[in-house]
């Protein structure tokens, strides 16, 4: 039961369940007896594994959210999209140029974008998806990379696009091009790569390889976090 005892009715894959009103969709589904084998990851809104579509009572609109972030509402009809099929092109980023034609070469369907903005409305991260696809189309790689930075590749934009574009691949390609050709490799990354190659961390890694699981877990959970 929720803290104030309030319950709501939701429908998961067509089945009615009465669940505490303050649960996320994901917890509500688990409360209702579903066990996640796919479609659940970090549970913190960072990994994009739990893309979920839903409708609200009395509305024709199809909405999307990350199941681990969205709180259930009375009358919600829910279905998970644990995987979004898409063709992921392989390329060597070193052979590419940071320009519009690179996007068109690998993902020519982006030229079909009508700027309808359905992708942006579908994004649970509030990313301006359409704007970054459009930026890629006109060769503004830096802008496409910047706008798509928070993308988790959950796939909701791709499932909603009437032009069948897979925006998250565009964003990923943009960020790769941006980091290679525009931002360039940063000094601290180059320095750390050199340290790794020189074997600075070999002993520490060897030590960790010998640890049993609880010790390793403890080391991970008590690790030093430095966030600027």
């Amino acid at each position: 039961m929720s803290e104030n005892g309030k319950m709501v009715t939701i429908y998961v894959l067509g089945k009615r369940h009465v669940v505490p009103a303050d649960l996320t969709m994901m917890k509500a589904m688990e409360y209702a007896g579903h066990q996640f084998r796919r479609g659940a990851g970090c549970r913190g809104g960072f990994c994009g594994a739990c893309a979920t579509v839903y409708r609200k009572k009395g509305s024709y609109k199809l909405l999307g959210a990350l199941a681990c972030q969205k709180i259930v509402e009375d009358g919600m009809i829910i279905a998970q999209i644990p995987f979004s099929p898409s063709e992921k092109k392989t390329y060597n980023v070193s052979d590419l140029k940071a320009e519009a034609n690179t996007f068109l070469q690998y993902y020519p369907e982006i030229a079909r974008c009508l700027a309808c903005n359905t992708c942006t409305k579908a994004c649970p991260q509030d990313i301006m998806v359409m704007d970054y696809v459009q930026a890629a189309l006109r060769g503004d790689v830096a802008q496409a990379a910047k706008l798509s930075f928070d993308c988790l590749s959950c796939g909701l934009c791709a499932m909603r696009c009437p032009a069948e574009i897979v925006p998250y691949h565009i964003g990923q390609l943009a960020r790769r091009l941006e980091s290679k050709y525009i931002e360039g490799p940063t000094e601290h990354v180059l320095k750390r790569c050199a340290e790794v190659e020189e074997g600075k961390y070999n002993a520490e890694i060897a030590e960790m390889m010998k640890m049993d699981k609880p010790t390793l877990a403890n080391k991970y959970n008590t690790r030093e976090m430095r966030i600027k």
């Binding site: 009508l114 700027a115 309808c116 903005n117 409305k121």
Partner: protein, 297 residues
């Protein structure tokens, strides 16, 4: 006689008597009306409706961005200037549709719901040629420090700057805005009969030979009228008349060559701006030899 018969939804619901009587009466005449085993809604009038709402979203969204710029104090007026003739035409036509067709405007707003802002319809769309005309040709002339003296330029309008009426930057039959600009830059304006003809537009993708035919006609006419250079206001015209001269030559070996430039490049030359601003190295064919010969660069 067995004839395929398409009943449609209404004859299966509220007009069953129509369906039943027609089948029976036809059968009495020996005409068997046979319903297709699979059929769907005829599409009703929706199929015939000119539903282009989806296509208006992109241009109108850009006008909404302009409105936001005004609200944020980035610009003085709710006015947007376009350079590409295609963009100008598209933005202006969508704007006009939005402002004159309230039904369409309503549908556009519905399609753009759940978005932070709604377009009001209040943005004015204009082409830079119009901006300059309003600014005043005398002011343009006053800024010229390298008059394009002795340079014989034919202004080429193409389609989208002038048509349809009510959208064009000037009279579709007798335009003069381009001529006025070139005159104010000190150039010798060459009038020619094909200045409003189509350059072939997107035929350039699948049928470059069509573009070669049109290019040959347009450019030969311009040259016959005495032009040494053609000025344009549209990137597609520039490509079709410039880059595609290679195709023209393939088909019409006697055709020579004539440089195509944007009117803004001629402005930059006449204002004495540098190489980076005139950006003449990007045009095909290269206009620089002619401009050097004239002592302009």
């Amino acid at each position: 006689m067995k004839v395929a018969y398409y009943p449609g939804c209404t004859l299966k619901t509220t007009a069953k008597e129509f369906d039943l009587s027609a089948r029976a009466a036809s059968a009495a005449l020996g005409i068997d009306l046979i319903e297709p085993p699979r059929w769907n809604c005829c599409g009703t009038v929706h199929a015939l409706a000119k539903d282009d709402v989806m296509h208006h979203l992109a241009p109108l969204r850009n006008l909404l961005r302009v409105e936001e710029m005004k609200d944020q104090g980035l610009v003085d007026e709710k006015r947007v200037v376009a350079l590409c003739a295609m963009c100008y035409n598209t933005l202006k036509r969508s704007n006009q549709a939005f402002n004159t067709d309230s039904d369409k405007a309503g549908k556009v707003k519905e399609s753009m719901n759940n978005e932070a802002a709604v377009y009001s319809g209040g943005v004015e769309v204009e082409h830079l040629l119009e901006t300059l005309r309003t600014h005043g040709w005398d002011k343009v002339s006053a800024r010229v420090n390298k008059p394009l003296k002795g340079l014989k330029v034919a202004p080429y309008y193409g389609c989208l700057l002038l048509r349809p009426r009510g959208i064009g930057v000037d009279s579709a039959d007798n335009p003069k805005v381009f001529e006025d600009l070139l005159k104010s830059l000190g150039a010798e304006v060459v009038d020619f009969g094909y200045k409003q003809k189509c350059c072939g537009s997107y035929h350039t993708v699948y049928m470059p030979e069509v573009v070669a035919d049109l290019g040959n006609r347009i450019l030969t006419q311009a040259q016959a009228a005495g032009a040494e250079m053609v000025a344009t206001a549209c990137p597609l015209c520039e490509f079709n008349l410039g880059d595609r001269q290679a195709e023209v030559l393939k088909k019409y070996p006697r055709f020579g060559s004539i440089p195509i430039v944007y009117f803004t490049q001629l402005m930059a030359v006449a204002f004495g701006l540098g190489e980076e601003e005139t950006a003449l190295g990007m045009n095909k064919p290269d206009p620089r030899p002619l401009l050097r010969e004239k002592g302009l660069i």
